[in-house]
């Protein structure tokens, strides 16, 4: 492999993230976190999930959070002190105060946060999409190439990640295939999925766009998928934060604030 003579090397500072990417990243981080935490409080109001058009207490649920227990299908997992808790002086909640907005049970306030920040999720998200396609950020930086999608390439990258060996030098200028797949799943699957299933739960939107119910298999299915997308986003955030820490938090956070990123030094140097 030959590299261009003036190609950047490990230790060089490169301009990695353009302003719209950085702006959207932080606006979206804020809105997703508020949406997740207020959403968990909304879930607390009825901690059961169903498939189909209807679903209430006497119907068959596939997920329940009861005092100290999580049930998923036939699987009952004890969750003492984590899920299904009764805080001192409060009422029983499925998700504990540390992860909900507001911290103590309040469906009305949770809905206010959720239904206001939804706009901060959708509008900047659409602007990012429009900018990303128009300026070819998505096609150039995020879309996996056919070569990268080869199973052997993906397997190799997974192996390298598992050994905590991350790309260095010029290779670190671009997203690797695992990053591309993770970011594309968030941008084109989880966020659109969570927005559309959120809209499907609205009785007024169901009157306007009844096809949404056909797409997701009914309102309670949409509610279940909404929850699963939320769990997917929470999982992404967890892995994302771990990767930032492992890859060098100061350099990574600086690159998302100023756009400038110091390429990790090649190990062979």
């Amino acid at each position: 492999m030959t590299s261009e003579p003036d190609a950047p090397r490990g230790g060089d500072i490169v301009y990695r993230h353009r302003l719209p990417v950085r702006l959207w990243h932080w606006v979206n981080a804020l809105s997703v976190i508020v949406m997740l935490m207020s959403g968990l409080m909304i879930f607390n109001a009825h901690p059961h999930l169903y498939w189909g058009a209807y679903g209430a207490n006497y119907d068959h649920s596939w997920l329940d959070i009861t005092p100290g227990h999580l049930r998923v299908g036939p699987l009952v997992i004890p969750t003492p002190g984590i899920l299904g808790v009764t805080p001192t002086g409060g009422r029983f909640v499925a998700f504990p105060p540390l992860v909900t907005i507001p911290s103590s049970y309040n469906l009305a306030h949770a809905r206010e946060w959720h239904l206001a920040f939804a706009w901060l999720l959708v509008v900047p998200g659409l602007l990012y999409w429009a900018w990303g396609f128009a300026r070819r950020h998505i096609q150039r930086d995020l879309a996996p190439t056919l070569d990268e999608l080869r199973p052997s390439h993906i397997a190799h990258d997974i192996g390298q990640h598992a050994r905590l060996r991350f790309p260095t030098g010029a290779a670190a200028r671009h997203y690797n295939i695992l990053q591309k797949l993770a970011y594309c799943s968030v941008i084109f699957l989880l966020i659109p999925g969570i927005v559309l299933t959120g809209l499907t739960m609205s009785p007024a939107i169901d009157a306007a766009w009844p096809w949404l119910l056909d797409v997701f298999g009914g309102r309670q299915s949409a509610r279940s998928i909404h929850f699963l997308c939320a769990m997917g986003l929470a999982f992404f955030i967890l892995i994302h934060l771990v990767m930032v820490v492992l890859a060098g938090p100061i350099n990574e956070v600086r690159s998302m604030v100023t756009g400038r990123y110091r390429l990790p030094r090649e190990k062979s140097e």
Partner: protein, 254 residues
């Protein structure tokens, strides 16, 4: 070992107090009137956005009999515990009359039998509780728009208020909708449910069905329908019992 334990203990208590501070901070933000005001802007935006994308007569999905919930749970009040209501039940609502007044040219007082003689609409629709659950049931009743035409609604009227027999913290339950929802073809005052007379648990003798909004708008035990120009002077002024009591949004389309 003991050093490690105490370090772990220290870390644990640091995390706990950090979490406590974070919670206190978040709750302070949540309780701030300014924050609540800013968040409150979303409600009219959501209302107008939803009205923008939907025809004012767009129908809520209707279902077939085979798609109905096997059991439709009751919610909120299941039995208004007042002596007046007990007397109405004892008499099988023979003494009950629906009052239609406020900004109407012809105030009305209609018996349950009279209402049943009027044109009816039957619909199998989905009831969505604000808490998240849904139940599908069949409702039969008088289209509200028809009643308002009969009472000759005045042009100043902007909202229709439903005054109910059940009490919430000592005050009669009430709800309100605007005229777009009031004249929507699926908005009915239901006296029948699932092919039977509406039960006490579900709001006998008459309950509102406003199918493009959430459950707390579906007022039960309706005694009086009042047309008003503004919601400001009524009880807490927010247009409904739950809106006044705990701050649910008046517009419950989402």
């Amino acid at each position: 070992m003991s050093a490690r334990l105490s370090r772990r203990g220290l870390l644990g208590s640091l995390a706990a107090s950090g979490g406590g501070l974070l919670l206190a901070g978040c709750d302070k933000i949540d309780a701030s009137p300014t924050v609540q005001k800013v968040l409150g802007f979303a409600e009219p935006i959501n209302l107008h956005a939803q009205r923008l994308v939907s025809d004012r007569a767009a129908l809520a999905p209707e279902f077939s009999a085979s798609e109905m919930s096997p059991f439709f749970r009751t919610n909120g009040t299941a039995m208004p515990g007042t002596p007046d209501y007990a007397q109405l039940v004892a008499n099988n609502f023979a003494d009950w009359k629906l009052v239609v007044d406020g900004l109407v040219a012809t105030p009305l007082a209609l018996s349950l039998d009279a209402i049943r003689q009027l044109p009816r609409r039957t619909q199998i629709t989905r009831h969505d509780c604000v808490e998240g659950w849904s139940a599908i049931g069949q409702w039969t009743g008088l289209p509200l728009g028809m009643l308002l035409k009969q009472a000759r609604l005045r042009s100043q009227a902007r909202y229709i208020v439903f005054h109910c027999a059940d009490l919430f913290n000592g005050t009669p339950y009430y709800e309100s909708i605007d005229l777009i929802d009031a004249f929507h073809p699926q908005t009915i005052l239901a006296w029948g449910m699932n092919g039977q007379t509406l039960s006490v648990g579900h709001g006998a003798p008459l309950r509102l069905r406003v199918e493009r909004q959430l459950g707390y708008k579906q007022a039960k035990y309706v005694m009086r329908v009042e047309a008003v120009a503004s919601l400001a002077g009524i009880n807490g002024g927010k247009g409904g019992t739950w809106e006044d009591a705990i701050g649910y949004q008046w517009y419950a389309g989402i």
